[in-house]
Amino acid sequence: MYTRCVPVEVRLPTLLRPHAGGAASVTADGASVGDVFTDLATRYPGLSDQLVDESGSIHKFVNVYRNDDDVRYLDQLDTKVTDGDVISILPAVAGG
């Protein structure tokens, strides 16, 4: 199937901005959230470990949204993105 690679905006939380030269928002290409993260990793190598764990899944304490929808309730990293979509990354609010 033909999938078009589109540029999407990725909004970064304060905590991750140092890994992207201080930017609050960056642009990356991909047809899925996973593709976008792969592209981000080539541009900002330090960001990759913060988003995806060793098993290739979204990091436990990170919430990833396509627009306002958590991709865990969509297709995880396979969630498709199209032109104009915004991916937001928010560290989980968690504790004990």
Binding site: P13, N63, Y65, D68, P91, V93, A94, G95, G96
Partner: protein, 145 residues
């Protein structure tokens, strides 16, 4: 910790809603978000909404905001020109002080107020903290009518 925190101001209704939500969550920990005005990411201490979030962990030992409730809280605050300025969670069997896990996780939101509600004893105990760079500082809680 290098800065002076303003007091956290809660209305009596917000205080009651937070504590009630913590009891409602038993036997699990309960959690929620505090929204209010902020200037340059720094909360002023005023809370305009105390909004419960489901505890995704459904645990008596840990909590995690339901990611959908979290996004809804954030968008509701943004729609008012405000920000999320803190959160609360309950400790069902320990005191109202941040656990090591709470301190570690607070790194993600260093400007927030962290409200702890202990349900260990007969009376609830609510305390508020700022947590930055691994340092915990209690701050005053003022109840407004």
């Amino acid at each position: 910790m290098g800065f002076v925190s303003p007091p956290l101001r809660l209305t009596e209704n917000q205080y009651r809603a937070i504590v009630a939500h913590c009891y409602d969550g038993l036997p699990d920990e309960a959690c929620g978000g505090l929204a209010g005005p902020a200037v340059d990411d720094e909360p002023l201490g005023v809370v305009t909404e105390a909004r419960p979030c489901r505890n995704e962990d459904k645990s008596a030992r840990t909590y995690r905001f339901d990611s959908r409730d979290f996004m809804a809280s954030l968008r509701a605050a943004e729609a008012r020109g405000e920000a999320l300025v803190g959160c609360w969670h309950s400790h069902t069997h320990t005191d109202a002080f941040p656990s090591p896990t709470d301190v570690a996780q607070a790194e993600a939101y260093p400007t927030w107020f962290y409200v702890l509600v202990s349900l260990r004893d007969g009376e609830p105990v609510l305390r508020a903290y700022r947590i930055r760079d691994g340092t915990v500082a209690e701050c005053q809680v003022v109840l407004d009518r």
